[in-house]
Amino acid sequence: MGYTVLRAGASRSFPQDHALLAGAAQDGEVVVIIGADAGAAFRKLARAETRTAVLIELGTECLGVHTGEFRGEEGSNVLGFARFRLGDADPSNLVELVRQPRTGEAAVAAARKVLEGAGLQVAVCGDFAGRIIDRLVRPYYNAALRRLDEGLATAGDLDTTLRLGLGYPEGPIALLERAGLARHFEVTQALYEAYGDPAYAPARRARVAKQKQ
């Protein structure tokens, strides 16, 4: 399936060359808009409704910010997406593909085909702050930092336990050190504001790292 890539500012999902960018054509049925200003570029896109699918790269915002929402009946050929990336680490192979209640199945299928065709893994999710992974890992990271403060175990033993016990490639403390504690603060603070759930409230160590910046 032919697809076009439009660039609108620096992209967090595709900071470097990638098969998705290399495989793009001039005038495809699917339009993929990447970059921090993808939403603005979408508003200027001609004939958006005639495309099989339009994909907008999202930051932390919901897709509804760009498409508008109506009574839980929103949805069209427009989808959001972001490649999952922890802080400043390289982007993972996973794309979270965001749909709305009435998004057309043909648009979802076309988007999936384009992304998978470029070697990416696709997880479809609803239009919620934090999508899938951030919603799951941020409370876990906050708990790990809190329990470290409380002396449950040393940082090394916490990490060893989760690696050996569950086969995680990395324990939470080493991972946060690598990806950036201050970046964790920013993501989890935004989720705390969105949901008001104390599980997202930044752990002390994340707050300290942010304040020290």
């Binding site: 979270e96 997880a123 799951l136 876990y140 790990a144 033993d157 336990t161 016990g165 995680y168 490639p169």
Partner: protein
């Protein structure tokens, strides 16, 4: 210290005890396995022989090694045969009364230097130790399932455990070829404290319609590199087992993320316990998984 430990007792030879006994005998300890039920002993012996035969096939052990291991492993329904043990690891039912009764009896039988280790997942080591008559020599040794393959052991001292006893148990754990980590005697230790709420959160995403189980699992595996997604893992563990562990964790921490989502009880009521009933978050036919 560890050199003092020559004979190991394992009390309760169910899912965990059978694996722990293999670990002990494989590491060269004379190992006495005690269970109240002869059928449990017989089943464990058959499973052990099967496991060790596979280890030979996979060239992890030689036949003479297996013969030595099986020779060092004996089973009994008479608790008195644990009298010569330098350490007894208990893996009996997860019930404080049962553990107290067992340790109290062992306290009368075993020599004063003997250590008692508990494999409990959800009870407090300090509370278990309090009923043992020798609480300064009781330590937590939480093995992972399947113990004969998983290296990790979470070790915790109770409030009254002596540092000497803890260190001896630690050295013993290393002599077993396992990897000990030290954790406080705190609900869920490390592993379950983090895993149970994480899995509950994944269930809540399904409940809230954020994504389908297969999408959540795919996201976690390819985004984070976890070997299994949380919902696949729950299907493997069984939702009934998850409910028990989560309820115990919630009862002792009152942390909202430990509270079991309502969907779990509905799925249990519907018979969707996971792989063992052919349906959980996924449907299974034989061992293959389909749908999502």
């Amino acid at each position: 210290m560890a050199a003092e430990i020559k004979t190991v007792g394992v009390a309760g030879v169910g899912t965990m005890g059978a694996g722990i006994a293999i670990v002990a005998a494989r590491a060269g300890f004379r190992t006495v396995v005690y269970d109240t039920r002869q059928d449990a002993l017989d089943r464990a012996r058959r499973q052990t022989e099967g496991f060790l035969a596979k280890s030979v096939e996979r060239k992890k052990l030689t036949q003479p090694q297996v013969d030595r291991i099986l020779g060092d492993l004996s089973g009994t329904t008479r608790i008195g045969e644990l009298a010569a043990c330098d350490i007894v690891i208990e893996a009996v039912f997860e019930d404080l009364k049962v553990k107290h009764a067992l340790l109290g009896e062992l306290n009368r039988i075993c020599p004063p230097h003997a250590l008692f280790a508990s494999n409990t997942s959800t009870l407090s080591i300090t509370e278990i130790a309090a009923g043992s008559g020798r609480d300064e020599r009781v330590v937590g040794m939480h093995f992972c399932l399947p113990a004969q393959l998983m290296k990790l052991v979470e070790m915790s001292p109770g409030i009254r455990t002596s540092e000497d006893a803890f260190r001896a148990a630690w050295e013993f754990c290393r002599a077993l070829g396992q990897v000990p980590v030290r954790t406080q005697d705190s609900p869920g230790f490390i592993l379950n404290y983090f895993l149970v709420p994480f899995n509950n959160d994944a269930i809540r995403l399904v409940e809230a319609g954020v994504a389908a189980p297969a999408d959540i699992d795919r996201a976690v595996k390819s985004g984070l590199g976890y070997p299994m997604g949380p919902l696949e893992l729950l299907d493997l563990v069984g939702l009934d087992t998850h409910l028990l562990v989560a309820e115990a964790l919630y009862a002792s921490t009152r942390e909202p993320r430990a509270a079991v989502p309502a969907l779990v009880r509905r799925m249990i009521a519907a018979g969707h316990l996971g792989r063992k009933t052919g349906r959980g978050f996924y449907s299974y036919q034989g061992s293959a998984m389909f749908g999502g």
